[in-house]
């Protein structure tokens, strides 16, 4: 349809010489000696019945001289036959039913030969042959061997970094450092000279957009220009450091990573037209923005995202951050699970893809089905990685509560405090109270206080009980009864107990206390107990239930181990209930009081005799008022017993991953389909680094990749990925950074460093930067700083005809590339100049409360987006239903990894600028603002719009054109708009919209 970027198309046609490389699993045959003398009969059978069939039906694809060996499997030699291909061994000697060869000939799963099933008699021959041991007398080796590395160049990225000396340059004065020298050397080699430096106004506009995604204000420009006149580079350093330290940096650079992480807040069409929301995905967005601002080191950033669930944290905030980070592996788009037996592997595929493409710049996912002819990544490697992720549990949530889409999973619970690291005090012994305990209790004037070391007076045991100093009252199938003196709603009871019943032995483990009319089956009142197997979420935890009529229960979070001694305080304050366990607030909630006028209570069993405590109870006190928290804590402290661990509350949920209970290797899925499986593959990483042609001296040695018995292997994978000497990880990331700042990557295919990707334009520079990156602790900010402070970055974008002719694509960077604002920067800039942008982070997401399908049922369009003046990164990134303000300008679909965005020129983009509600309404707001002060002249207003939009004043010609335009439009409206205020607004609104549509507004020099 509408053609614009011609050069992009032309360059696509520049073909690259295909490289004939087949590193990986090719059959390496070792002639076996000591071959036993075959029986004539067996040889005859093979030669008469088997070999002719193989020759006729199989050799076309499975022989040494085949054009392309199918499945990397050779049938023309004994060795090939024995070894098998990419799906593993094809013959299990003596067992035809288990032999892949037999199965495929029977058209069971695979269909071989593909031209048609062979006659039954032939199948019987093969069955017989395999049953008898699959005797194969052929000894001549296949003469196909690993082809020589015709083009080691194609595998450049698999080789370790080489630190080259800074190159010599002719112009010794131009460079500011090695980076510039590497660039200049290449320029000089092709006869180019760098253009002049960008002027201060251009430079500051560029820096603001690149580091924050927003234009500078007119004032910021003026200040910088003045500062730059006085301090030169010092002024640049200052503004760079300020922008890097500011919060908007993370908004801009976080978005770059979200493109790589294929971030989306819904699943996207699952193939059945269903698109489930991801209500918790936004936490990952916030994590990424925060991580960019914190700059923990890219290596650590990756570890957080791949193994965050297993990282040790010092506090709850850190722990939660790590859990949220693993959303990286969970928020991919998944195909429907209905009628899809491969669903689990589809999830794994997405994870392999995001790690291999996102982190390594290598497309491993193709190896799911076949080894690829030129690719050094064999199918085995895919399944080695797949084993790691299939040993990992993916927590993506409820999937819109639609089972056809995906089976629902749990989510990571984000807790208010760390649970795991607190040491639980030993409570196995009967407590021996401190001396002042009794006095402390008396100070608060309890209604009843019984130590229960001897027969009580204010409590009535239902049956005969033993009381003693060492273990207080011993109870089983019984209770102690008492009464308050009035029927006030507020009261407090405090006691110590030991329960010996296991937490999963009964539906309710035990009831401890009831404030209720004894024997009333409707159970009006407060009933405090420990949950049992009836409901997993409450097993072993305290709860309070308010009777069969209201049927509400509130619950704690701490599991109370059987046989432990614990102190519990139940305090009711009107309509609220508090329970303290061992001096820690365990639960606090609204709970209606239902005991009415009843004053009775029961200790050690529910008021209707259900679920009695088996164990002990001691040191009981009851107060006819609600003790405040201080008092409760003070009283516990007075007991001299250790405080309990801090109970946790759940503050929210996050998508993510965690280890599976039983990690295991998996088998190759033949043709990527789970229906047919080949050999099992040991979990591991890519092997291409080690199978490089031997002449390479820059081999990256993985060493032994050993996965612990309890580990999925993600830990080992993350360690391997973030090794300082990993050839890919650092190169891929510095290339991404370079691309965002310089308009094109040193490798122009940032997601593909493989044999099909582009070769680096500046290989030595790439390695220099990667080395510097690692040496600077993988700091993204330091790398950005280094690049933007270079002279190369600070070049002007204008150029002479010569440099255009010699280097139309600006491969050698003799000038700075001019770039169009991306979707987010365009929207943010519009809001910025019209004065409406809210720079603060937006909390949560438009779908945080919505677990549902989008646009469902069909024909019922739903718009889940909400209006927002926050930065675009906070808009709701629903897959296949993106924010309307962004969709026109090449927003990635978030299904695949998008390290590099498209930059298209389409009429739909102009339609957005011409007619969209967003642009039109923002123009109206802007006009309103300009007209607020009636004393301003039109000339002044025009100048202010130029300053805000272009960061410069209009030329005399431009000023005249603008005024002419305003007059012409004013004349037009004269006729049909009587109200002069409204007319002025319409005129200015059209002018403001025009300014927002211009190329100058939307392009950065």
């Amino acid at each position: 349809m509408f053609v614009v970027s011609r050069s992009r198309i032309l360059t696509t046609f520049v073909s690259r010489k295909p490289i004939a490389l087949a590193i990986g699993v090719l059959v390496a045959f070792q002639a076996s000696s000591g071959f036993s003398e075959p029986a004539r009969e067996q040889t005859d059978f093979f030669e008469k019945k088997i070999r002719p069939i193989l020759v006729e039906h199989c050799y076309e694809c499975h022989a040494t001289d085949s054009k392309e060996v199918g499945g990397k499997f050779l049938l023309d030699t004994q060795a090939g036959m024995a070894t098998g291909g990419e799906s593993g061994a094809v013959i299990v000697s003596g067992k035809p039913d288990e032999s892949l060869l037999m199965q495929s000939m029977r058209y069971d799963g695979m269909e071989m030969p593909p031209t048609g099933k062979l006659p039954e008699s032939v199948l019987n021959d093969f069955e017989k042959w395999i049953t008898q041991g699959a005797f194969d007398p052929r000894t001549k080796a296949s003469n196909r061997s690993v082809p020589p590395a015709e083009d080691l160049d194609a595998l450049w990225s698999f080789q370790t970094r080489v630190v080259s000396p800074t190159p010599r340059v002719i112009d010794a004065t131009w460079s500011r450092g090695p980076l510039d020298q590497f660039v200049l050397a290449r320029m000089e080699a092709v006869g180019l000279k760098p253009t002049h430096d960008a002027d201060a106004t251009t430079l500051v506009r560029r820096l603001y957009f690149d580091l924050t995604g927003l234009p500078p204000t007119a004032e910021q420009v003026t200040n910088f220009v003045q500062d730059h006149q006085q301090h030169g580079d010092g002024a640049v350093k200052q503004v760079v450091d300020r922008l890097l330290a500011g919060p908007q940096f993370g908004v801009r650079w976080g978005r770059h990573w979200l493109d790589v992480a294929r971030y989306g807040e819904s699943n996207g069409d699952d193939g059945l037209g269903r698109n489930a929301t991801f209500p918790h995905a936004w936490r990952y967005r916030d994590y990424v923005i925060d991580a960019m601002n914190r700059d923990p080191g890219y290596d650590h950033f990756l570890r957080e995202q791949i193994i965050g669930d297993t990282l040790r944290a010092t506090d709850a905030a850190e722990k939660n951050r790590y859990l949220v980070a693993t959303g990286f592996l969970a928020l991919g788009s998944k195909p429907a699970s209905a009628m899809n037996s491969n669903f689990a592997m589809d999830v794994v595929d997405d994870q392999i893809n995001v790690v291999s493409t996102g982190v390594l710049g290598l497309s491993v996912a193709c190896a799911r089905c076949h080894d690829h002819k030129h690719d050094p990544i064999p199918t085995r490697d895919y399944y080695a990685l797949a084993g790691i992720f299939s040993s990992t549990q993916t927590l993506y949530g409820a999937a819109g509560n639609e089972n056809l889409t995906a089976p629902p999973t749990e989510l990571h619970a984000l807790r208010s405090s760390l649970v795991g690291d607190q040491v639980r005090p030993d409570r196995s012994k009967t407590p021996v109270f401190a001396d002042g305990y009794l006095a402390a209790i008396q100070e608060y004037q309890p209604l009843i206080r019984e130590s229960l070391t001897e027969h009580p007076t204010a409590l009535k045991p239902e049956a005969k009980l033993s009381f003693n100093e060492t273990d207080f009252a011993k109870v089983k199938e019984t209770a102690l009864h008492g009464e308050f003196s009035g029927d006030a709603e507020s009261y407090t009871v405090s006691f110590w107990f030991r329960n010996v019943i296991k937490n999963d032995a009964r539906p309710i483990t035990t009831y401890l206390f009831s404030r209720a009319k004894l024997g009333d089956k409707a159970l009006p009142g407060d009933h405090l107990g420990i949950g049992g197997k009836h409901e997993k979420a409450v097993t072993g935890k305290l709860f309070v239930f308010n009777g069969n009529e209201k049927k509400k229960s509130v619950r704690g979070s701490t599991v109370i181990p059987p046989n432990s001694w614990n102190h519990v305080v139940l305090a009711r304050r009107g309509g609220r209930i508090e329970v303290h366990l061992n001096g820690q607030l365990e639960l606090e909630d609204k709970l209606e009081a239902t005991f009415g006028k009843s004053r009775e209570f029961s200790l050690g069993r529910r008021s209707d005799k259900f679920a009695p405590l088996e164990g002990n109870v001691g040191e009981f006190a009851a107060y006819e008022r609600a003790l405040d928290r201080d008092a409760i804590l003070k009283l516990h402290a007075a007991s001299g017993q250790p405080k309990g661990i801090i109970p946790t509350t759940i503050d929210g949920f996050a998508m993510g991953v965690r280890e599976k209970a039983k990690p295991a290797d998996i088998k190759i899925h033949i043709n990527g389909d789970g229906a047919k499986k080949g050999a099992s593959v040991t979990r591991g990483v890519l092997t291409a680094y080690e199978t490089l042609p031997t002449k390479s001296t820059h081999r990256f040695d993985t060493g032994v990749f050993e996965v612990g018995a309890e580990s999925s292997g993600r830990k080992e994978l993350a360690e391997w990925l973030t090794r300082d000497d990993h050839p890919h990880t650092s190169r891929v990331m510095v290339n991404r950074i370079w691309m965002h700042l310089m308009g094109r990557g040193i490798v122009t295919t940032p997601d593909d460093f493989g044999v099909y990707g582009a070769r680096p334009s500046h290989p030595k520079l790439l390695d220099y930067l990667a080395e510097a990156f690692v040496r600077q602790g993988w700091s993204v900010k330091q790398m950005i700083r280094q690049i933007v402070l270079s002279r190369t970055y600070q070049l002007a974008s204008r150029h002479d005809a010569d440099s255009l002719r010699l280097d139309p694509d600006n491969r050698w960077i003799a000038r700075h590339p001019r770039r169009r604002l991306d979707a987010e920067s365009l929207r943010d800039s519009i809001l910025h100049v019209t004065g409406g942008l809210d720079h603060s982070p937006q909390q949560g997401s438009a779908v945080e409360e919505i677990d549902a399908l989008i646009n469902w049922p069909p024909g019922e369009s739903t718009n889940l987006h909400r209006e927002s003046n926050h930065r675009s990164i906070y808009l709701c990134m629903l897959r296949h239903a993106p924010p309307p303000e962004l969709v026109a300008f090449d927003l990635p679909d978030a299904v695949g990894i998008a390290g590099k965005r498209e930059v298209t020129t389409l009429p739909t983009q102009t339609l957005f600028l011409l007619n969209s509600e967003f642009v039109v309404s923002q123009a109206g707001i802007y006009a309103q603002k300009l007209l607020e002060d009636p004393s301003l002249t039109d000339e002044f207003r025009v100048k202010s719009v130029f300053l805000a939009c272009f960061q410069r004043l209009p030329s005399d010609v431009e000023l005249r054109q603008a005024i002419d335009y305003l007059v012409a439009i004013g004349d037009h409206f004269e006729k049909n708009e009587a109200d002069s205020v409204k007319r002025a607004h319409r005129v200015w609104k059209s002018f403001c919209q025009a300014m927002l549509m211009t190329n100058e507004f939307r392009y950065v020099d």
């Binding site: 011609r6 046609f13 255009l804």
Partner: protein, 446 residues
């Protein structure tokens, strides 16, 4: 620097001039009037495609592949009555009475087969030739090869579009991506091109406004000479401006007669079981209008053929929703003389196993091993049946046509050679038919 306009004037291949670069377009091309004729193939039989995409897997044995019971033992087959129709005596299901009137125009392919019974993958393969990776859609390939016949409209339009991956241009230039009108799930009766119009300014003022913008843009570009992107934007803005008047006109059905709207069943929206309210009548009428206006590839979508449970009820609803609109489309194309150079394609990502009479079941699954497509117009035989499935319809046994063969055939009818229509990307040469050998089914040609 030559502007795009100059380029267009000087290149005889017109809007499809990009295809020149792939050494494909060697014949003479007159911009805006005629399709490309690559030297390697026969002349184009069709100029445009209307693809009636029936997603979900239509039950071929209850529509076009008649399977009566044979022998004594009951077996899967047609669950509804069929009649022989027209002079050709084509068997057509009683559920499609209107389409049946056009029996003599249809070219039925009963031996279709595909690689997988997984919706998402097979649907992708039907559109792009590849089931796992993002590749250019058939409409994008054809647009890329032939360009547009109307410089005010997109060359590839997808109505009630499914997910973007099926109308994406992938690595082909983005101008060949499908323009969606109504995405899956939206209300099709109100669907339009996003932001195609706005009433905030009268159109004369809009023109003045754009003139002012373009004045600024040209000054900006002059100071930055040689930046083709800036020039491209200036061109593209003009095109968008023209689209504002041409596209809404086409989408506005108010000048169609009451009788026409009724014939197409415009606005009729059945929502029963799996049958979705896609306003298929409006889609068909829009397709006719786009075809008349010179849009190269028009895809229509009706979802809901995935009738697992309640097979009979949902099948009936799907047939009822699509039958009359398709018949009206065929009738109008014929009446207006467009049938000869318009290729109409009907089919989905696979078919279904048939119901077995009297076994009490009303449930069907997926069958990728044998199903039906039909073609009409554009140089194919009429009243003709090609290929067949086994007695139970379980698999194609004769005249087998794979998706890649269908793709090669459609390209050939458009005058394109599937091997020559290729694109170099990531070091590999890509084509719609994929790496495996595809055959042009010449038996279908008139």
């Amino acid at each position: 620097m030559i502007s795009r306009r100059h380029m267009l004037q000087s290149a005889s291949c017109g809007f499809g001039y990009l295809a020149l670069q792939s050494s494909l377009c060697q014949g003479t091309l007159h911009a805006g009037t005629q399709a490309a004729s690559p030297a390697a193939t026969n002349p184009a039989r069709a100029k445009r495609v209307i693809f009636l995409c029936m997603s979900g897997g239509p039950a071929q044995m209850d529509t076009f592949d008649y399977k009566p019971q044979t022998g004594n033992k009951k077996h899967p087959g047609s669950a509804v009555a069929f009649q022989q129709k027209g002079d050709s005596g084509l068997w057509i299901s009683d559920l499609l009475p209107e389409t049946a009137k056009h029996a003599d125009r249809l070219c039925v392919i009963n031996g279709m087969h595909a690689d997988t019974g997984n919706h998402a993958q097979s649907f992708l393969q039907l559109h792009t030739g590849e089931r796992l990776r993002k590749r250019p859609s058939m409409g994008s390939w054809i647009s890329y090869g032939l360009g547009s016949e109307n410089e005010n409209l997109p060359s590839f339009i997808s109505l009630n579009a499914a997910k973007p991956s099926v109308y994406s241009s992938a690595f082909l230039p983005t101008e060949y991506a499908g323009t969606p009108i109504g995405t899956n799930g939206e209300n099709m009766s109100a669907a339009t091109i996003r932001d195609i119009s706005g009433d905030h300014l009268p159109s004369s003022v809009k023109r003045q406004q754009l003139d002012f913008v373009q004045q600024m843009n040209r000054q900006h570009a002059t100071q930055r000479s040689g930046d083709k992107h800036l020039e491209g934007v200036i061109e593209s803005m003009e095109l968008a401006f023209r689209m504002q008047s041409s596209a809404p006109e086409l989408l506005d059905l108010s000048n169609e007669t009451e009788a026409t709207l009724k014939r197409y069943r415009v606005g009729k929206k059945l929502s029963i079981g799996t049958c979705r309210p896609t306003d298929f009548g409006r889609q068909c009428l829009l397709a006719r209008r786009f075809a008349e206006a010179g849009v190269r590839f028009i895809e229509l979508n009706h979802g809901g053929w995935d009738q697992h449970k309640n097979h009979r009820r949902d099948l009936k609803a799907n047939c009822e929703t699509t039958d009359a609109p398709i018949a009206a489309l065929l009738e109008d194309l014929t009446a207006r003389g467009l049938m000869d150079d318009t290729l109409v394609v009907w089919g989905g990502e696979f078919g279904r196993p048939g119901l077995t009479p009297d076994d009490g079941k009303d449930e069907t699954g997926h069958n990728a091993k044998g199903f039906t497509f039909w073609l009409a117009g554009g140089g194919v035989k009429s009243g003709y049946v090609h290929g067949k499935t086994s007695e139970t319809g379980a698999r194609a046994v004769e005249g087998k046509v794979h998706f890649r063969d269908l793709h090669a055939t459609i390209l050939n009818l458009m005058g394109l050679d599937h091997r020559a229509l290729n694109f170099q990307h990531e070091g590999r040469q890509h084509q719609l038919t994929g790496p495996e050998e595809a055959k042009v089914v010449t038996e279908l040609f008139a």
